[in-house]
């Protein structure tokens, strides 16, 4: 395959990003990327922990241009970063903070203003491995997923074709989601850069910050969010500038929430479906029905309970983590999840990993995480058998290993867990525990199109 330009061809003066109140042209971005690339040490893997999305993008593209691998960890919990460093002793951290994160060897990223002529565009072999994205795995050992430049590029272009068809053209893209995970990486960094849109450096936090960040963007505007952030934004009932569309992912979105979002914000809400393994592969407009439409060129194949995706940007076929019902060549429904994946506000972990970490804490005899309220992507809870330990002690012992979003609340102490002869907790038993200990606290909403057992059931010991 012939090489690809680092950035797709763009008209002269194309604004690629808005950063700290400044419009940055593709040429200036490229000049900054090349300046940073020249400062990167050859061959060392990079851990890009920039807080600002624009700085992150500079680091990512400089790494690609210079042939450095970017490591994208599943978690920035201290023990996880320490393990990553142990596995990659020559790792170099990219950061835009004053202090080196975790005391790692660090290169500080800034975005110096560069007035420049048009620099020569680097040509990248599509098979160049540019990123290694980790998922949490089931045994405490993060699982690496290799991403080539050609795949990320083609996947983002496929996403752009799909989304710009709804918005009427390339948009300025604002995200509330972390961009070190696949959803945020693809939809808030690669979509605007490879799809001819405008990347927005800000990562707004409070609803009022989302409103002011959107107001700083030119129309058409595209907001990338999650069910949790979306509900919080709608509940705040503040005025937002007109949006061309919104995007949600990472957890099932209740149709009621989608309907409300479209009415309140006056824009179509798309949901995107993907995984760390495959990248994004399908979208739907939630209010239009439960069917997902595959990206052009992809195909799905069913083998028993499992579905495989193939074609287009996938170099080889990939197994999906969910149970799908294929409707025809390009449409499917999501029936349920194969157990294990947990997504909260754009961060991903797995029940198996969380249970592994909790069960190996000193003093914990048995434990099981669960997600009592799937539709809200709400907080995890855990049942634990740990005589003599307090919830506070368990939580502080978990902190080095888990992102705080995954800490269980509440922790319910039991004398034993209802495991069956094979060591699993049957779904009905887990549901009974949830009903008994967790249900009265909050309102319940049903998950759209999912009638699966409670997440957390059937965990093998």
């Amino acid at each position: 395959m012939s090489s690809l330009p680092l950035l797709p061809p763009a008209p002269a003066g194309h604004v690629l990003a808005l950063h700290a109140g400044r419009a940055i042209s593709q040429d200036e971005f490229l000049a900054q990327v090349l300046a940073l690339a020249a400062a990167l040490p050859a061959g060392r893997p990079l851990l890009n922990l920039c807080n600002d999305r624009y700085h992150f993008a500079l680091g990512l593209f400089a790494a690609i241009a210079h042939g450095n691998l970017s490591l994208l960890p599943n978690s920035t919990a201290p023990e996880n970063i320490a393990a990553l460093h142990a596995a990659h002793p020559d790792l170099l951290c990219l950061s835009d903070q004053q202090e080196p994160p975790f005391g790692l060897p660090t290169l500080r990223i800034t975005a110096p203003e560069i007035a420049t002529a048009t620099p020569a565009m680097p040509q990248i072999p599509p098979e160049q491995v540019v990123a290694c994205v980790f998922t949490s795995g089931s045994t405490g050992q993060p699982q690496p997923h290799i991403k080539t430049f050609g795949r990320l590029f083609a996947c983002a272009q496929a996403e752009a074709r799909r989304i710009w068809a709804t918005t009427g053209g390339p948009c300025a893209v604002l995200g509330t989601v972390p961009f070190q995970h696949m959803y945020g990486l693809e939809s808030t960094v690669l979509l605007p850069i490879f799809g001819g849109g405008i990347l927005c450096g800000e990562r707004p936090f409070f609803p009022a910050d989302v409103a002011s960040a959107l107001a700083d963007l030119p129309a058409p505007r595209f907001l990338v969010t999650t069910p949790f952030h979306l509900r919080n934004l709608l509940d705040a009932e503040i005025a937002l500038p007109p949006l061309a569309a919104l995007l949600s992912a990472t957890a099932p979105l209740a149709t009621e929430l989608a309907t409300r979002a479209e009415a309140q914000l006056g824009a179509p809400l798309l949901e995107i479906y993907g995984s760390t393994e495959t990248g994004q592969i399908a979208t739907r407009r939630t209010t239009a029905g439960p069917d997902w439409a595959l990206f052009e060129g992809l195909s799905l194949e069913q083998e028993g309970d499992y579905t495989w995706a193939d074609g287009a940007f996938l170099e080889q076929r990939q197994q999906l983590g969910d149970v799908l019902e294929l409707l025809d060549e390009s449409r499917f429904r999501l029936i349920g999840r194969h157990a294990d994946m947990i997504n909260i506000a754009g961060k991903r972990s797995s029940l198996a990993y969380l249970n592994h970490i909790l069960c190996k804490l000193p003093g914990v005899r048995d434990a099981a995480f669960c997600l009592p309220d799937e539709s809200e992507a709400g907080r995890l809870a855990a049942f634990v058998v740990a005589p003599g330990l307090s919830a506070a002690a368990i939580n502080s012992a978990l902190r080095p290993y888990l992102d705080p979003l995954f800490l269980p609340r509440p922790l319910v102490f039991l004398d034993s867990l209802p495991r069956n002869a094979t060591g699993k907790i049957p779904a009905a038993e887990l549901q009974a525990l949830i009903e008994q200990h967790l249900k009265p606290q909050e309102s319940r909403r049903s998950a759209p199109g999912l009638s699966s057992p409670p997440r957390g059931a059937q965990h093998d010991r």
Partner: protein
């Protein structure tokens, strides 16, 4: 307005905000257990995380009639302690 109020009403507001946090987040502690100077966010103290902060911010906006805005350097500085949050509310509240 509220900034000049005597310390007793500051303490009362701190207790009110503590109660609101416990209720909004279904915490398994009583409001009295949240100390005024203790960290709300992060690895110490109450240990709230970013989604907790958004939940609390929503309740604050409803009850006190203003929207929280992130500090440019640190989204969570006003959440550094109950006292800091209550002080921010006292300064910004419209109801």
């Amino acid at each position: 307005m509220s900034q000049q109020e005597p310390a007793a009403s500051d303490a009362a507001l701190e207790r009110e905000v503590a109660g609101m946090i416990v209720e909004a987040l279904n915490l398994e502690i009583s409001a009295d257990e949240i100390k005024a100077e203790e960290a709300l966010y992060g690895d110490d103290g109450l240990g709230l995380d970013s989604i907790d902060i958004l939940e609390v911010a929503l309740v604050v906006s409803k009850r006190y009639g203003f929207q929280l805005k992130a500090d440019s350097e640190d989204n969570f500085r006003i959440f550094s302690s109950l006292r800091s949050l209550a002080g921010h509310i006292a300064a910004k509240r419209t109801k």
